[in-house]
């Protein structure tokens, strides 16, 4: 299947997020690699995904799961070689699957040769590639992001006897984007991968590129200038490639990252995700509709990126204190489940392994405006291991079958990069791809089905949204429209059966056709359209005018 030539391909994408380390170990060393990932491309194709987002796979001391890069132009030896990556990329493209890779612009590892040179002397040509200071009192307005581990954004370097700036871990010094040489170098890095054929970058931690005194050092105009320059060069040399912003910000602060369609193609909608969980727990659409109403319009060529879970904690930075307390009490009673300002759990455990809740949440993910991202393993309802530190509990090996190591690796279990989930409910003998493949009504097959239905129309990826406002607040209903096509989505957020009357007068005469079963429902007339929905049930109706 060839790749589509549409430069807006990301609008129709179903993105699968995976770390090469976690997916499949082809050489029996206990660590997933590109050959293993390539072996599993058929699985991803069958699932219906048409894009892969790879977490960092570059050489790294791995003190932050690869987000501490020590060489941008190579592959970490544990995962294979550059040649392995090229082969994987080619195979993915042959299957119509695009590949988005991580690009950590903001910082490097302190083991990166650039930093080693920079710290070596005040006169080193790369001294100014990082942000150095004689004091730790500059940029006091910047918050500390990793509250659980860091006390300051400055760290003392005993080698060069100065403080260096870091917004994340102290072993991740921030690059100095006021230095043109740094900007040039990072573009060179991107060019290296683009020339190889990668289809886009997920740019990590973009709000923090530039620092200015008297500000919170986030979302600064100078940062946007850097990003716009990268985009301009990308469009010139590699049209059709895509930039995805990781900017954990409120919608109004996120909007500038799209610029006038001249900065990012896509950005994660971080505030929506916790509110989907909140709405489900409250059995009330208010949190979801409220944040979407606060979400500004974006340029036509741009797209939101939606997700339920990812490799990080379920971030609660973009919620109020009251909402955060509610989320903790609802989803992370045990303090061990909490990390920084978030909850380090996977989708299935968060939803008490309730199939109906998992379906509803994925139904919303697939039908709200944006491009959905599925985190590896969530399509089979994988569990987590909160006994592993940091965010490693949601980064355990993929569970392929019920055999040794869950089919992930032939290595002795003690050599795996992380133990497999073994508990009776979520352990690999119970939850695995092979088992779910053989069961017609498994969650995996359901996920495949919903992705197929979603992909059957461009309306979900490209259409507008019009919220309906039924008096029943447990019902979240909206119409997605694209030219003559209209799809009515009705979600019951409640654990009990609900009746709802929808004002569909605008669609009078249309015949609702349920998109999963393709059954017709009564024609829309003048009266409110009455529907009943079971607990956590949802409908997608194509509104056909015949």
């Amino acid at each position: 299947m060839p790749l589509s030539r549409d430069v807006l391909w990301y609008k129709d994408a179903i993105i699968y997020q995976v770390h090469v380390r976690t997916f499949r170990d082809s050489n029996g060393d206990g660590i997933g690699d590109f050959q293993g990932l390539e072996e599993k491309l058929d699985y991803l194709q069958e699932l219906g995904t048409n894009a892969i987002w790879l977490m960092p796979f570059f050489p790294s001391p791995l003190r932050d799961d690869g987000y501490d890069i020590s060489d941008y132009n190579a592959v970490h030896s544990s995962y294979g070689t550059l040649e392995d990556f090229r082969k994987f990329l080619e195979s993915a493209h042959e299957r119509g699957i695009r590949v988005i890779i991580e690009m950590v612009l903001n910082h490097t590892s302190d083991q990166h040769p650039w930093f080693q040179e920079s710290r070596s002397s005040q006169d080193n040509p790369r001294r100014d590639w990082y942000v150095w200071s004689d004091t730790d009192t500059r940029y006091k307005g910047a918050r500390i992001i990793f509250l659980d581990t860091e006390k300051s954004n400055w760290a003392w370097d005993p080698v060069s006897k100065a403080f260096y700036w870091h917004r994340f871990f102290s072993h991740q010094p921030d690059l100095n984007y006021d230095n043109p040489a740094v900007r040039e170098q990072m573009w060179n890095v991107m060019t290296f991968w683009l020339a190889m054929g990668v289809d886009g970058f997920r740019l990590d931690a973009v709000p923090y590129l530039v620092e200015r005194e008297g500000t919170n050092c986030e979302n600064l105009p100078e940062t946007h200038e850097v990003l716009k320059e990268l985009r301009r060069r990308l469009d010139e040399k590699f049209p059709g490639r895509m930039l995805l912003a990781e900017a954990n910000q409120w919608p109004a602060d996120l909007r500038p990252y799209f610029g006038d369609g001249d900065e990012f193609h896509m950005a994660f909608h971080f505030p929506l995700m916790p509110r989907m969980f909140m709405g489900l727990k409250l059995e009330d659409r208010k949190p979801i509709t409220e944040i979407l109403q606060q979400t500004p319009e974006i340029p036509p060529s741009c797209q939101w990126s939606l997700f339920l879970r990812n490799h990080d904690e379920l971030t609660l930075e973009m919620v109020t204190d009251m909402e955060r307390d509610y989320m903790y009490d609802s989803y992370a009673e045990s303090k061990t489940m909490r990390l920084n300002l978030g909850i380090r759990r996977r989708l299935a455990p968060l939803l008490a392994n309730d199939r109906r809740r998992m379906e509803l949440m994925n139904g919303m993910l697939m039908s709200l405006p944006g491009t959905p991202i599925v985190y590896y393993g969530d399509e089979i309802g994988m569990g987590d291991n909160i006994n592993l530190g940091d965010r490693n509990g949601v980064r355990t090996p993929m569970q392929w079958n019920g055999e040794t190591n869950g089919g992930f690796s032939a290595a002795p279990p003690e050599r795996l990069y992380a133990p497999l989930i073994q508990d009776p409910v979520y352990g690999y003998p119970a939850v695995n791809v092979l088992r779910q493949r053989s069961s017609e009504h498994s969650f995996l097959n359901w996920m495949e089905r919903i992705i197929t239905v979603r992909s059957s129309t461009a309306v979900f990826g490209r259409g507008s949204i019009e919220f309906l406002h039924p008096a029943n607040h447990r019902i979240l209903a909206y119409v997605r429209r694209l030219s003559n096509e209209a799809v009515l989505v009705v979600n019951n957020l409640s654990s009990t059966a609900q009746a709802v009357e929808l004002d569909l007068r605008r669609y009078k005469g249309s015949i609702p056709i349920e998109m999963f079963g393709r059954n017709m429902f009564p024609r829309v007339g003048d009266l409110p359209y009455l529907l009943t929905l079971g607990p956590f049930q949802f409908y997608w109706f194509r509104l056909r005018r015949i």
Binding site: E283, K286, T320, Y326, A471, N472, H473, E501
Partner: protein, 422 residues
């Protein structure tokens, strides 16, 4: 033939949309447009600050307002609150309205609220008065928390009142209900109170809704049914009570709603109150009820004149109601001058008990019995005001307590009268 529901289809549709709730606030209204907006905002603020995570609804039971009151209730937005009160809403806070009749009726209003509470499976409910001009957000929590968080079934309020306000409560309702039912509830008849879902359901199922006419004192019946049903009851101090300015209260109407309701419950409740020998304090939260002591002009001369005139003009009716000794004593004090006039507590208690027994026997029209009590109550009011003219708050409380003890001491007399009528 199936009984027609008193709930309209439209109201039922609104209830379906609200669904199950934890908290329900009932708001009976009738032409309250001038004040209802701020009252609803206060209620919303009280819900959001006290119960931010809980499912809540405000149910407006309207008695045919012609000033747009229901629209004002449903039109108040939480967003209007935010800048001032900094409250935040996690979930949808509903406000729905229904018209139960074309004229106001506290009976029908409460029935509507109780029906909504049952259909929505409300765990804790509160009824708020649209007449309270100084309602505060904290009142919601004070009336609901004991139910929602401590397992009580009924929360009645206590207020800070002027020592000469609520004289019908202090001189009759409180002391008599306490003596008979054995629980010291200061405001057994209040337009504001909290109740549990089970208590509401129990009362909704009682046969008290037949005529739906004004004057039944349904709030008092509700309180007494909670006592007889052995529900857990407590009091919560709300602070000062102020009313929206309205025309002067009609004493006979007030007597019908309160004393009439109390007397009418005595017969069915006889098995309960006849065996009660002493009263117990009700658990109370939020402090006491200090009286206001600022000067207040009371037309004592008019009170005494109305008493004397009443005793004279209604003598033939009193002969049917009162014992010869009591009537003779009333006639004696009716002849006293203003300086000597004194309606002693014992005589007042005997008077009330004889009225209650006559009410049970229906010696004459029960409504006439209640009306006939009005001039006598005015005489008792004269004495209470005179006795407490210069009294401190504590002294007023002591005098009320003495009257209560008199009601308790003479309770055997009521039993004797009651049994003689059986």
């Amino acid at each position: 033939m199936a009984e027609e529901s008193f709930l309209t289809d439209d109201f039922l549709r609104q209830l379906i949309n609200v669904g199950e709730v934890d908290i329900l606030v009932g708001l009976p209204t009738h032409n309250n447009a001038k004040t209802i907006g701020s009252i609803v905002q206060t209620i919303q603020s009280g819900i959001l600050s006290g119960f931010p995570r809980d499912r809540a609804v405000i149910i407006n039971a309207d008695g045919g307002s012609r000033d747009g009151t229901p629209d004002l209730v449903t039109g108040v937005s939480i967003d209007d609150l935010r800048p001032a009160s900094k409250v935040e809403a996690l979930r949808t806070l509903h406000a729905i309205s229904t018209k139960y009749a074309n004229s106001p009726s506290s009976v029908l209003a409460l029935r509507t609220i109780l029906a909504a509470a049952e259909l929505l499976h409300a765990k804790a409910c509160v009824v708020m008065s649209p007449e309270s001009s100084n309602i505060e957000p904290g009142w919601i929590s004070k009336l609901l928390s004991p139910i929602y968080r401590e397992g009580f079934d009924l929360v009645t309020p206590t207020y800070s009142r002027h020592k000469f306000e609520g004289l019908l409560i202090t001189n009759l309702l409180y002391p008599m209900s306490r003596a008979l039912y054995g629980l010291r509830i200061r405001e057994a008849y209040s337009p504001e109170f909290g109740f549990s879902g089970p208590l509401g359901t129990q009362f909704l199922g009682r046969n008290v809704w037949n005529d739906g006419t004004e004057g039944d004192g349904v709030e008092l019946r509700f309180t007494l049914s909670a006592i007889t049903g052995k529900y857990r009851i407590c009091q919560s101090f709300l602070g000062e009570k102020k009313h929206v300015e309205r025309r002067a209260a009609d004493l006979v109407l007030a007597l019908r709603q309160t004393v009439g309701a109390l007397f009418s419950t005595l017969e069915p409740d006889f098995p309960v109150w006849s065996v009660v020998t002493a009263s117990q304090p009700a658990p109370t939260t939020g402090g006491g009820q200090p009286s206001h002591l600022e000067p207040l002009r009371v037309n004592r001369k008019r009170l005494r004149e109305m008493f004397s005139t009443g005793v004279s003009e209604l003598e033939s009716i009193f002969q049917s109601i009162l014992s010869p000794d009591t009537l003779a004593e009333l006639k004696r004090i009716a002849g006293m001058g203003e300086d000597e006039f004194y309606y002693p507590a014992e005589l007042w208690v005997r008077t009330v008990y004889e009225f209650a027994a006559s009410y049970q026997k229906s010696v004459i029209s029960r409504d006439h019995i209640i009306q006939a009590l009005a001039p006598l109550f005015r005489g008792r009011t004269f004495t209470f005001v005179t006795e407490n003219r210069n009294a401190s708050a504590d002294e007023v409380e002591n005098n009320i307590e003495s009257l209560c003890l008199e009601f308790e001491r003479l309770k055997p007399y009521l039993l004797q009268l009651w049994k003689s009528g059986e």
